[in-house]
Symmetry: C2
Subunit: 329 residues, 2 copies
Amino acid sequence: MTRAWTLASRPSGVPADEDFALIDIDLPPLKEGEVRVANRWLSVDPYMRGRMNDVKSYVPPFQLGAPMDGGAIGEVVESRADALRPGDMVQHMAGWRDAAVIPAAAAQKLPALEVPPQAFLGQLGMPGMTAYFGLLAVGEAKPGDTVFVSAAAGAVGSTVVQVAKAKGMTVIGSAGGSDKCAWVRDLGADQVIDYKADEPLVKALGRAAPEGIDVYFDNVGGQHLDAAIAHAKPRGRLAICGMIDMYNTGAPTTLRYAARIIGARLKIEGFIVSDYMDRADEFYREMGALLADGRFRREETVFEGIEQTPAAFRGLFTGENRGKMLVKI
Amino acid sequence: MTRAWTLASRPSGVPADEDFALIDIDLPPLKEGEVRVANRWLSVDPYMRGRMNDVKSYVPPFQLGAPMDGGAIGEVVESRADALRPGDMVQHMAGWRDAAVIPAAAAQKLPALEVPPQAFLGQLGMPGMTAYFGLLAVGEAKPGDTVFVSAAAGAVGSTVVQVAKAKGMTVIGSAGGSDKCAWVRDLGADQVIDYKADEPLVKALGRAAPEGIDVYFDNVGGQHLDAAIAHAKPRGRLAICGMIDMYNTGAPTTLRYAARIIGARLKIEGFIVSDYMDRADEFYREMGALLADGRFRREETVFEGIEQTPAAFRGLFTGENRGKMLVKI
């Protein structure tokens, strides 16, 4: 027996407590090639909101009543696979639950890097890879470029800020509220925009980047995207990673500056981190080195206990996290 | 003395008669290296609308009271330059007027191709290059792709349709009204959408391309762009050439399907034909061959007399042209 979160109903807007149910499920006996994993850390990420709707997307929707998935770090406690032994720490996708029986092939043994295991759900995991490849591969950001990143206090955004600074770029980050903005500045951002302040975003960005931006890393969509289009330099690149502004509302995106896409020859490109899995070695090598030299800040917002998972998830949309949002079991 | 159109006032919305004034100007005597050109054909193009506003763009705004510019075909009638002789037919940018004195370096002698001279304002000129490089270089369209093009009855769109068919693509074109739609089908389009019909565009496109589109060639923006985003296949390319929907209104672009930019990893890229001038030889060779084999349709809508230039220009926005809109002097 183990406990697992299921989706009880498809949320409208920000998910409510009643949309989730914690149920008991049986764990089957191991078959050949399988392992039993006791989860230690669960990841909650904005993209999961999309899976709560019943629409076709790049990841299939969660099924009502079935255990939900998501990134997790666990310890192998029983194994019928040669590749993994009890005591091994692994990363896998059977999150939102205490324990799981999974094929060993679906679990990745954590690389031997000098970081705590939950870092593989953050800067050394999916959010870190998203930041790294979105900035450097999709956004084609180069030393000397001016980079604007939204949700700069989030797991992805805060890593974008630091990778960009490590690579010699000028960074403008946006975040909501003075505390987060102060933290983004601590991370090294040259300019910080509080999007909750009175000044219209498009005006604030113009002040922060009077000569324009070369790259925009979009976690937010909506007005942030419009402001970035307004201030992109000729041949600017906009790497579209997330649109948290519309995940709950489904509101359309209104672009007042769309004509600049032509005039400034902008390139707006969406991406999904899994497309870059074949470059994971490069990522671990580079990001491992950046983390090892000690200048990188790794921040976590931790909720304790599996019972808190929905609350942690909701916190992503109400701005409660600084850095990576995690649940510790 | 010659006659030249000037901008009398900056239009709001579709330009009115009063926004233009035909004035007499002196032609200076030729300096060394200059030629006098008598214009035979004037081009009017949608992009000129942007130059009528006093805003910074990729081409500077027209100055009030000064002769306007634009593509033109003229005959050299006097020369103080070695490269050009009286009788030579040239293409240049001193349009919107009867005659002009210009540096020989600013006039391009028409290539020796078996087409009438005004073709160099259409399929063998800027609109043709726009269609060719927008489809093949920006949109990266390949044989077998499904291509959607808006304003498919226009100078650029009708060329996109024909280049795409010549290259073995499936083509869906949109145009306004049954006459234009019939003509676009005659050009070879596999499916035609009448955007003035009752069916919402996003639904019509879904019916025309049930498996989605690989490439969208955008001349229109607005709902056309939104529909293309809704139906683009994974890794679809959207080449943004024009947004005639907003040139006069300045209306914002509302995207209801923006989240697909991420989910389907779409690339949306703006371009300006002048960026491809260094590949002009390739263009003349390829497009010349396509025109020479006789399958290409070259259609013109011609207004007679320089007095008609503003009316011809306005017709671009009220849907009066099929193929290239021209003024014959």
